[in-house]
Amino acid sequence: MRTPPRLSRRRAVGGAAALTALVVSGCTQDGASRTGSGPSATPRSETPTQGRVPPDVTLAAAVLRDEQTMLDQVAATARRHPGLAETVSGARSTHRAHVRLLRQAVPDGARPTPPRPFRPGQVPRRPGPALAALVRAETRLSADGQRNAVRAESGSFARVLASMAAASAQQAARLADVAADRR
């Protein structure tokens, strides 16, 4: 088995910049396009979209709103149930990273109205149901993310969306395990 190359800071920064450029310009990369017909599909040419908001920018703005909502719910859960703060810290850092990346990718003018922040009062009173609500929200976010990855025009953007969906699935599984152990 080959050893994967080490990640450098330069590559990490370059990856975010590449995503930003792709989403903002609405270009397709890597020979993939949503309109392809299968494994033998011809790569679509990289033509910047002019005069309209590229579909991937609209999609990124919607995903940004959903990730921010998830982050707000995690934070509100930790505030209402300080005993869960450690449990949900991984979900918090994950969605914070997703929001940070998407903010770089979505131009200010294309950003949706921010979601109303989750308040502690919206979180279930008992920790168990609060945890279960987070599992449901992560599961829903992962399912939406998987659909969005298939819809994305840009292959590079689809790759990131699929990764985010996988991250939410991991958080849902981990939080479900914690919830099961508490019973």
Partner: protein, 141 residues
Amino acid sequence: MTPLQALQQTLAGEHAAVYVYGVLGGRLSSTEHPELMSRVVAAYDAHVARRDHVTARLEAAGAEPVAAEVSYELPNPARTAAQLTAVALLTEQRCANVYAQTVGSTSRADRKWAVEALVDTAVRQLGLGGRPDEFPGVREL
């Protein structure tokens, strides 16, 4: 990378994963480590199914599916339960990288398949001692 190249790379990864899990299953004792054994068997079945799926997709597209290597080098001696678990985790992490690349290089049904494989392998990593990742399968982020 073209869609066909991505599928060929995915198939190469599945060949390696099937081989590795076959070795792990042969070295594990189901009485001493029943839970790990059940995870290894489940992973083996999943990768065999994916190998067969990608092979069929390539054949349907008129391509010659890449063949498996005779053997694959394991990253550690793979003798103790900890070593076997580490090999399984590394296998899933490498598969995640391949699936993510396939997501970015394909469209429609092939992309949907790769997305689902990425999600599955990311969750599977947790049962093998892996920790949740902010961007599973995307090393540069």
